[in-house]
Symmetry: D3
Subunit: 137 residues, 6 copies
Amino acid sequence: MREEFNTELFAKGLKNRQEVLGAEHVQKSLDAADDFTADMQKLVTEWCWGELWGRPGLDRRTRSIINLSMLAALNRPHEIRLHVRGALNNGLTQDDIKEIFLQVAIYCGVPAALDGMKVAAEVIAEEKAKNAKAGAK
Amino acid sequence: MREEFNTELFAKGLKNRQEVLGAEHVQKSLDAADDFTADMQKLVTEWCWGELWGRPGLDRRTRSIINLSMLAALNRPHEIRLHVRGALNNGLTQDDIKEIFLQVAIYCGVPAALDGMKVAAEVIAEEKAKNAKAGAK
Amino acid sequence: MREEFNTELFAKGLKNRQEVLGAEHVQKSLDAADDFTADMQKLVTEWCWGELWGRPGLDRRTRSIINLSMLAALNRPHEIRLHVRGALNNGLTQDDIKEIFLQVAIYCGVPAALDGMKVAAEVIAEEKAKNAKAGAK
Amino acid sequence: MREEFNTELFAKGLKNRQEVLGAEHVQKSLDAADDFTADMQKLVTEWCWGELWGRPGLDRRTRSIINLSMLAALNRPHEIRLHVRGALNNGLTQDDIKEIFLQVAIYCGVPAALDGMKVAAEVIAEEKAKNAKAGAK
Amino acid sequence: MREEFNTELFAKGLKNRQEVLGAEHVQKSLDAADDFTADMQKLVTEWCWGELWGRPGLDRRTRSIINLSMLAALNRPHEIRLHVRGALNNGLTQDDIKEIFLQVAIYCGVPAALDGMKVAAEVIAEEKAKNAKAGAK
Amino acid sequence: MREEFNTELFAKGLKNRQEVLGAEHVQKSLDAADDFTADMQKLVTEWCWGELWGRPGLDRRTRSIINLSMLAALNRPHEIRLHVRGALNNGLTQDDIKEIFLQVAIYCGVPAALDGMKVAAEVIAEEKAKNAKAGAK
């Protein structure tokens, strides 16, 4: 791991980030870190995942709800993809996620809801396939 | 009340809207309804408050969390004002609301967080003053 | 068709949606409806296509103009694609659509206009190819 | 008038701008033009009002419909105020404007619609008061 | 000053924030910090002003240019007001700021440019009045 | 070249556009111009590249900084791609671009920064590969 990642806050953030988004995805981002992207990886891991997600004020399930709501409003499909997976890891059900996007439809408009739900449906299908495969073993 | 408001879904929505946003605010909106705004009041009360807020899938506290997150991202201070009050009515504490805006700072940017928090702080101060006055009686 | 789709408002919306967006596209969305997406399909078909597009206040051509304008501003390419096709079905010419995106350039900025026009150009080329093929038979 | 305003395109744009937004409002903007704002006034008058609004491809009524749709989506209340007045000047009725904002509610979300309609209602009330006063003379 | 503000990064950020936005404005924000807003003040001062503005990679003048560009695009008039003042403190001239907003007009659309320029013009007028008063002493 | 492109302002804009974005990309856009897209190409080349980029008030390096900042905030990946290449042509280093996106993270939120940086990293890798290939000859 790059030297500048060697801080206490980074370690704390890394653990939160891995637990929410999955170790594999996070490893891929860190492995890809080069002189152009490393400072961003550091900032995101320390501030977003160390500081914010490390705060005890709200549980992870609630933080996932907040994120999906904001990301749908912000029109950020890549992040919606990551955070639908995170939401499932944090205990949201398929029905919870459905309700969030119905509320998005009313407050952010139907296009935001349809776009977000399409991404969410893909992630949910992938997770089901993965679980089915794991169950078949 | 205007004739076109006389539907079952409107009545259901009206009850939800009053319980969340306060009867006084809702009455003001409905009293102001004229030929230009009545159809919008009907749509919002039926669709948003009857259909969506009437769904059992998420509790009101969670719906308030979703709304504050979306409204901060959408840059809608008038609606943030209404829904901070709604959030307090639905059981969110001052600390819960603070945490939401800290998460807004990271995902929507610092300006969205500072603008939203300013409005929220005003509502919280008003509610404290109102409660202090009520307590003094 | 799923049982919850069996309402009068859904039937009305379905007809409008099919006439504007094309029966094939709509059928695909409804066929894909599962426990995750069916409530959204219901909401969109009833409220957006039954209630709103069912209103006599504006003709369909005008509603298409409004939609393209909003969708370009909202940065929603998937929906622009659908509604450029809808606009052609509702009688807008290629020149009308061109003018809308020129106005988008001034009010929403050049990137919104270029992104939107690129999607529109693809749809227009597809429609021309389809018509040429149909004409050749 | 400032020397740099002395172009053919500016004169053409100025005429369009005055006819749509009202001579009084435009005069105020131009009178206020100083070394900081004059280049912007020139760009807007020439580009937006000379080039775009001078195009024959769409009538003014349609351009007003496009503008209100975009401005509601873009969350720009100052411009909504100007262009509701412009829309009335260009022949849109109160009912047309109402329909636009109902469509905004579905596609841009309820907060965009309520915020935009509030501004529109104020302009419509002002115009009615002005007309009543004029009629009383 | 509140105890949680007592970190090295906060001190570094506070210095940067005061030098850019003015000591008076910053003091007002910190004095107003209470249990609701203090964590946000800490996050903003440490993260935004300590971490980011403390980076040597770009000079302050350039960071002001970036901020005005983003804030105009983000539709955040309160922050534009603060950062036009900051831009003047960081050495941007009135003409530099004018050019930024002309570029905003083309890329973010005319409404973003007019709204932003209006706020900027007010700040510039205030600063001129302040300087004239100071010069008259 | 199409007849309507035959203006002095178009020629001036074309030169700027080619120098910033690369002659190959611009040629592709112009070659693709047809009755649907030609007026947009004309508007963009004349106003954006002739008028704005032709202004002496800011150097091209600064205009690239402004553009990347706005485009990240506006969520326009296609344009970010073009203008990262333009920024490199205008003398920004990889480190300058990195700093811009770190500032985007704070003010527009982490998703805007990660999305933008991903596109920028791809362009930077392509340019390095191209230069390596050119150097190997």
